[in-house]
Symmetry: C2
Subunit: 149 residues, 2 copies
Amino acid sequence: MAEKAAGTARPDLAAMVVPLGRALMAAEQPILDAHGLTMWAYAVLLRLDETPIRTQAALAEAIGADKTRIIAVLDDLAARRLISREPDPMDRRVRLLALTAEGRLLRDTVQAAIQDGEERLLTVLPAADRSGFLRALRALSTLPDLTLG
Amino acid sequence: MAEKAAGTARPDLAAMVVPLGRALMAAEQPILDAHGLTMWAYAVLLRLDETPIRTQAALAEAIGADKTRIIAVLDDLAARRLISREPDPMDRRVRLLALTAEGRLLRDTVQAAIQDGEERLLTVLPAADRSGFLRALRALSTLPDLTLG
DNA sequence: TATTGTTATACTCTATAACTATA
DNA sequence: TATAGTTATAGAGTATAACAATA
């Protein structure tokens, strides 16, 4: 306890989590590239596979992007028939978005490849740490606010 | 096991880690702001407090920044006497960097505030998950490469 | 000639503002 | 007039290239 001032017990959380996130994204990149998907395109496929979403703005919000940010992404996905994107007959201003069969297949293929790699990566951890890590990660990443003050 | 295709057991790691990192950085921001530090300036103070570093390029590399990126940061820190930055008498091309007493004090103050907040945040986790999380995080964030292929 | 640090430039990503079409 | 989507523009952040000083 006397030497507490000399060095810290652990690095700040952000100092560990942010670089880890960057490394994980970089590690996913080759897999996404192999299937012609950007990170945003993959995020769209993942999100659309959960629950149907009504507006593009809501989709953008859900994946943490700007509504203008995803338009080119949707253009590309629709052109490749990975998603459908049709005006809502009830309100022709909104575009209804949904995965096509090919879109769901691609999503499953890519995610399986990514999670296979992740499982292999996680084997470096002791079993107990590993399950605690995953549980903690899910808990923390679903917290609504997260303030330190 | 039959319903594996319908939804995945867990989100991709990057899908949890990256947003968590962003949230943690955002949560640190008010504390950094209160002390007039940017994230990069804080990263510099943290790094310089560990082991003396010889060149600016090496410092930039160590904190994951471009060498041109940190020049304005060093200008500001030096002007505020939080770091010293003098030409090496042995090789006048290089600038020797070191924390001043005030720099170390500020570093300690800010990190204490941040880690206090983090400890409070971590209390939402069961004790077992929490220690596993921290151990796993340290292990993964110090891995040299991290590939999924 | 090679290297450190600096400045100037260009590029990428993202957000803001202006526009079209529907309501 | 208000809203969904789109396009055009501007801004932040980052990296690349050119430059000055020193070796």
